[in-house]
């Protein structure tokens, strides 16, 4: 069985003046895969991701996301992807339901569909008692889970997660990864950046960026063999030190 490629990137480059923040990276991501996008701060992962989600124009190279070209069809890409930022950005002064309704609305979901989705989502997250509370009053872990669910509200083909577990306790992180597995199991491709190396172990495949280039790309198991390391942390350190 040939696996469907949902992200295809070839020689994608972003320059700021003389500096290449992203330097000719190439990779593919398959449907239903959990793809870990690793790198130290400043390695270029956020810049690369911004090009893929259509809010930053590449300098050169090629990239297709969900079957659409990032240069010419950024608007079509936006309809087919979900995005969750590092800040778990929801509106603190809107209630849980209002947030869901708003984001459902901007993705063009019908009123009935939004209602249906809201009920399912609130039940799934166990937020029945808090549905009419302002999001600002929720604990961080709940905000994070809600934010992830909202990013999935329009059943996107791919969901991009930018360091989704920053500042969250280990138990909540564990629960959050269960949600990611569930989404992947249902066929959503998950593209996740992280700097927690234990989380890298949960990914199907991992790419590691160093100074704008992808220096390694494989499953965590094969990467550990290749670099003769006990865990992903050691792989990362070996790469980052050159």
């Amino acid at each position: 069985m040939k696996r469907e490629k949902v992200i295809q990137v070839a020689d994608l480059t972003k320059r700021f003046g003389d500096f290449a923040a992203v330097d000719a990276i190439s990779f593919d991501v398959y449907r239903g895969e959990i793809f870990g996008f690793l790198g130290a701060n400043g390695a270029g992962k956020t810049t690369a991701m911004k090009m893929l989600i259509g809010i930053s124009n590449p300098t050169s190279g090629q990239a297709q996301v969900a079957g659409f070209d990032v240069f010419t069809h950024a608007e079509d890409i936006k309809k087919n992807i979900g995005y969750m930022s590092q800040k778990f950005a929801l509106y603190d002064d809107l209630t849980v339901r209002e947030n869901i309704r708003f984001f459902g609305g901007i993705y063009g979901l019908s009123r009935g569909r939004i209602k249906e989705k809201s009920d399912a989502l609130i039940e799934e997250l166990g937020l029945q008692g808090a549905a009419h509370k302002l999001v600002g009053a929720l604990p961080l872990g709940w905000k994070q889970k809600l934010s992830f669910s909202v990013a999935l509200i329009h059943d996107p083909k791919i969901v991009f997660l930018d360091e989704p577990t920053g500042g969250v306790d280990p138990i909540t992180r564990r629960q959050f990864w269960e949600m990611i597995y569930k989404a992947a199991h249902q066929g959503t491709t998950v593209f996740v950046t992280t700097h927690y190396m234990d989380e890298a172990e949960y990914c199907d495949r991992v790419s590691i960026m160093v100074n704008g280039k992808i220096e390694a790309l494989d499953s965590p198991k094969l990467l550990k063999e290749q670099f003769q390391a006990a865990n992903m942390n050691d792989v990362f350190l070996k790469l980052a030190r050159g």
Binding site: I53, G54, I55, S56, N57, E75, K78, K79, I81, Y83, S85, Q86, K87, F88, A89, L90, Y91, D92, D93, L94, E98, R101, F102, F103, G105, I106, Y107, G108, L134, F160
Partner: protein, 368 residues
């Protein structure tokens, strides 16, 4: 369109759930208009005046007595010759001089008509105007009491004369000024804050990744403020008509159109500010320093532009508020139509187009 409506609904939630912005939106205009209104048109108390009585008869004596008995005036001195008037104003000892004509009561009996001159120092035009009105009121009351059982009424004709500033240039100036400040504040500051808030919270990124177009995001953010600014403008005009009896001589329709033009230019400035500031605090500081201060100081609202040094006069030309104040003063006070203010309107329109173009450009650069 449905997406857009959902977006606007969300904006209104933001506004109505934030007490601070609600206060700025609605408390401020009302507080300011009342504050300025009463500070300028308030009652007068114990104003020092001088009397030039060339008749010294029973009637003048009675009037002088009535004046001095009122709590509004205190008679500082009596002068003998008209040539003293100038000197006494120059010294600044009194705010007004009452000049009774020669043969005051004789004329009243003979012609049933006599005149009194109220000369006021109009360097402070609001006080000057109030003084004249209060003296008039006292004279009219007295005249009425004289005429109770007369067939042909006696007439005491007051003649107002202003020295130093006969046109009373800043009377009612506060309403156009406050309106300008409020519209600038609500439109520019509130929008720039609300846009930078989305940036600060990280929700702007989410919106840009969504299928909403950037232009929809921006229009959705500013639309509620257009609406609220128009309500504010209406509140200010209604308050000034009913509480301060401010006349609106010209067309209300033209006034509304010009106000919308100014609101849009302020909104464009707000968007521009939001593109150059990363946090709400910066946006607020830039709005206050970069917009409010020039509006207050250089628009001609408080300090007349004509008496500013030339460099400041030149700078005042690039402030949209200056042109808007000229426009609404023209419409409200002089009752002029577009034929008299088309030049100012055109300048304001040009500025608005420029600000919109610039902010769209800046916004695009930021996205790339």
């Amino acid at each position: 369109m449905k997406r857009f409506i959902g977006f606007i609904k969300k904006e209104f939630y933001h506004i109505f759930r934030d007490r601070r912005s609600l206060f700025i939106l609605f408390g401020m205009p009302i507080a300011q208009i009342l504050l300025f209104g009463f500070a300028i048109t308030n009652e007068i108390n114990n104003v020092d005046i001088a009397i030039l009585d060339s008749s010294k008869d029973d009637v003048t004596e009675e009037i002088i007595h009535k004046i001095s008995a009122s709590k509004y005036f205190s008679i500082k001195q009596f002068i003998e010759k008209e040539s003293d008037i100038k000197g006494i104003f120059k010294q600044g000892k009194v705010k007004a001089i009452l000049n009774f004509e020669k043969d005051f009561s004789k004329n009243l009996v003979k012609d049933h008509k006599t005149t009194i001159q109220i000369i006021t120092d109009a360097t402070d035009p609001n006080t000057a105007n109030t003084i004249a009105n209060f003296v008039n009121a006292i004279l009219q009351k007295y005249q009425k009491s004289l005429n109770e059982d007369l067939v042909v009424a006696y007439q005491i004709v007051p003649e107002s004369r202003m020295v130093y500033n006969p046109e009373l240039k800043s009377v009612y100036m506060f309403v156009p000024g406050v309106m300008t400040i409020i519209l600038m504040l609500v439109s520019a500051m509130m929008t720039s804050i609300s846009i930078t808030r989305e940036k600060e919270m990280g929700t702007m990124e989410i919106l840009l990744v969504s299928p909403l177009k950037p232009i929809q995001v921006i229009v959705g953010k500013v639309f509620p403020y257009i609406f609220l600014s128009i309500i504010n403008a209406v509140v200010i005009v209604v308050l000034s008509i009913f509480i301060f009896k401010m006349p609106v001589q010209g067309s209300l329709f033209l006034l509304a159109l010009e106000s919308i033009l100014f609101i849009v230019s302020a909104l464009a400035l707000g968007i521009l500010i939001s593109t150059i500031s990363a946090t709400q605090q910066t946006a607020m500081m830039i709005s206050l320093m970069g917009l409010m201060l020039p509006v207050i100081l250089l628009s001609g609202f408080i300090f007349p532009i004509s008496s500013m040094p030339v460099p400041l006069q030149l700078i005042s030309n690039i402030i949209p508020a200056k042109w808007f104040i000229i426009i609404i003063k023209g419409i409200m006070l002089k009752g002029v139509g577009l034929e008299f203010i088309w030049k100012e309107t055109l300048i304001l329109l040009g500025m608005t187009v420029f600000f919109i173009a610039l902010s769209v450009r800046k916004y695009k650069i930021r996205l790339a």
